[in-house]
């Protein structure tokens, strides 16, 4: 490669200078290495940004692997797959250089296959993120940074949406036969009238008009009936699901989301109340999507809430008994009319005083009693809902909530979103949005490089991989090793840090 006929002789005869027009490697390799050096900068830019964002996030907030459904074992497996593919492509190059074309093709095919395996595993991983509502961007992303009032109202909105949707569907299903009957009646009378008009020998201008209208209207009715039938079929198919899900969604809406929102809306601004407000929102966030690091605090919050509830209930019961004791005959009469003795369902309009002629004081007593009973009912419902949808035991050694599955086996509790996969409630994952953006960007760009590698492999595989193709394989290999190199850094940074 070095050239000796440089055209002019140096005066220092004993020094033989050599003129070298290019690097001592083939042009393809030069270009590939230039490309790789830009790639180094591209990926270190990405990885560097990730590191800086991760360590610059508000202290102690970056989600751990298990908070965002990252499975370290799959990452390690993928690392191994890429290492094997790097090894196989280098062995393919070796074989090609010694002119063993078929052996080279075997190793090359193995590389191709391993690249597919990598993408397949990556697909499984992405899918599990999407399944859990972890997306890099709205509107799919359901990640909230903290359990504040915006978060709680987002949870309430979602539950409201579900409940309203299902209630509307139930109503539609219930009224469908009626609507169908109306349409059929109209169809019948319209057909009869049309036939009658058709039978007439000489129609007036007005009757001709009517006939035209009817001819237009009849197909419309038919289409509407068809639509209604298919819609009813769909509604009937979903009715079994709705029957199970609606009560669950209503209970979670009233006894978890609204409870948290009501508590969070307590007006007083002293420290104790402020703490309780925060606790209520944290409990809700944990119930929806439990983060391991919050478990201990939430167990404390729940204990405090229970003590509060019991204390409040005892106080209210005492007040209730006192009011009953002091009640005048007229009040007692009114009470009987209201049938307040068993606590009414929440939502029942118990607060309305009866229209008997009570003194203002007596009305006030009645109103207070109704309010007490309403609150007691709320508390009771809260307890029932906790028993039903949050039947967990706090394990103080593992610092986590455990629940018992259908098979009697106790395992870590994964939250309402996991128990009822159709809920898809907003989740509190501090720094989760930034995590999702960086994770999908880094792994996405890497996967894109794998795809490009696959395309290149697919182009080369049909060729005869003998010594003349060695350079081609070498250059492809260089690119592929670089893809491996990037993953070597991504694996610990994304899965283990």
């Amino acid at each position: 490669m070095a050239q000796h006929d440089s055209g002019h002789h140096d005066d220092h005869g004993h020094i033989q200078l050599e003129y070298q027009p290019s690097l001592p490697i083939n042009n393809g390799k030069v270009i590939l290495w230039l490309f790789l050096s830009t790639e180094i900068m591209f990926f270190s830019g990405l990885i560097g940004t990730y590191i800086v964002l991760r360590f610059g996030s508000p202290a102690g907030t970056w989600p751990g692997p298990h908070d965002v459904h990252v499975v370290e074992k799959l990452g390690a497996l993928n690392t191994f797959v890429l290492i094997c593919s790097s090894l196989s492509i280098v062995l393919s190059l070796e074989a090609a250089r010694s002119n063993k074309a078929s052996l080279a093709k075997i190793w090359f095919g193995l590389t191709f296959f391993l690249a597919f395996v990598f993408l397949f595993i990556k697909g499984i991983e992405y899918n599990s993120k999407f399944d859990h509502g972890i997306y890099p961007q709205k509107p799919h992303s359901q990640i909230y940074e903290k359990a504040d009032i915006y978060y709680v109202s987002a949870v309430r909105t979602r539950l409201n949406e579900l409940v309203t949707k299902w209630q509307t569907e139930d109503t539609e299903l219930a009224t469908a036969p009626n609507t169908a009957k109306q349409l059929e009646d109209e169809q019948q009378s319209a057909t009869a009238r049309r036939d009658a008009l058709n039978g007439m020998s000489n129609r007036s201008e007005q009757e001709n008009d009517e006939l035209r209208q009817l001819t237009k209207r009849l197909p419309e009715i038919k289409a509407a009936l068809g639509d209604l039938a298919s819609k009813t079929k769909g509604l009937e198919a979903g009715s079994a699901d709705r029957k199970v899900r609606l009560p669950i969604a209503e209970s979670i809406l009233n006894d978890f989301a609204r409870w948290a929102e009501l508590t969070a809306a307590t007006a007083s601004d002293d420290l104790v109340t402020r703490h309780k407000r925060q606790a209520a929102m944290e409990i809700l966030a944990y119930q929806v999507y439990p983060l391991h690091r919050d478990a201990h605090a939430v167990s404390e919050y729940l204990r405090a809430e229970e003590a509060d509830r019991n204390q409040e209930a005892a106080k209210l019961a005492a007040e209730r008994a006192e009011l009953h004791g002091n009640a005048t005959a007229a009040t007692l009469e009114a009470l009987k009319a209201l049938d307040l003795t068993p606590a009414p369902e929440p939502g029942a309009d118990a607060a309305a005083p009866p229209s008997t002629n009570l003194s203002p004081e007596e009305s006030a007593v009645l109103e207070r009693l109704a309010a007490i009973d309403k609150r007691l009912a709320q508390t009771r419902h809260r307890e029932e809902a906790l028993d039903e949808h949050f039947a967990v035991r706090y394990d103080s050694n593992e610092h986590t909530f455990m629940h018992t599955g259908h098979d009697g086996h106790e395992s870590e509790w994964h939250g309402l979103n996991d128990d009822y996969h159709w809920l898809k409630l907003p989740m509190k994952i501090p720094s989760g949005n930034m995590w999702a953006s960086t994770y999908f960007l880094l792994t996405g760009f890497h996967a894109l490089h794998v795809v490009v590698g696959l395309i290149v492999f697919a182009c080369i595989i049909p060729l005869k991989l003998d010594a003349t193709r060695a350079n081609m394989i070498e250059n492809t290999g260089l690119y592929w090793h670089f893809v491996d190199l990037v993953w070597i850094f991504l694996f610990p940074l994304l899965y283990l840090f």
Binding site: S44, L87, K276, R293, A304, L496
Partner: protein, 154 residues
């Protein structure tokens, strides 16, 4: 300088003819095995509760392992160990630039939370639920279970 160039050219020239003598199945298999072992090491470090209780230690181990793996891949699989000195021209400046790039991000991006306004902090992520309340607040709450106890701050 010119002496050096002559040397490299000669080396490359003579080395080019028998490239295949550099690698060899055995050498590649050893490197592949080493890479697998190193992956296992960083996986073990990352999953070990003892090591990750001091995360800085775990991070250091994992990054060191990654650098070692990267070196193995570049030197042997990418044949850089057998290449002439041009390899430095292409790899060293790119690496230095990328290091600078990362450092340049630190003031504006890495330290961003230091300059957050009150308003921005309201929307920022908070750490684990337990940390969002000071211990004194926690204690206060336990004493005053009833809201009517009158635990006013002021």
């Amino acid at each position: 300088m010119s002496h050096d160039n002559v040397g490299h050219a000669d080396h490359a020239d003579s080395g080019h003819g028998h490239d295949q003598s550099h690698g060899g199945l055995g050498k590649y298999l050893i490197v592949g095995g080493l890479l697998a072992v190193l992956t296992a090491i960083s996986f073990a470090a990352g999953s070990s509760k003892t090591i990750m209780s001091t995360p800085q230690l775990g991070w250091t181990i994992m990054i060191a392992v990654s650098c070692a793996k990267a070196m193995l891949v570049m030197l042997f699989f990418m044949h850089l160990i057998w290449e002439a000195n041009w390899k430095y021209v292409l790899t060293v400046p790119a690496s230095i630039m990328s290091l600078f790039l990362m450092l340049m991000l630190v003031p504006d991006v890495g330290l961003r939370t230091r300059n957050y306004s009150e308003e921005r902090l309201l929307r920022a992520a908070t750490p684990a639920a337990a940390d969002s309340n000071s211990p004194s607040e926690e204690a206060e709450m336990k004493e005053g279970d009833t809201p009517t106890d009158g635990h006013k701050q002021h």
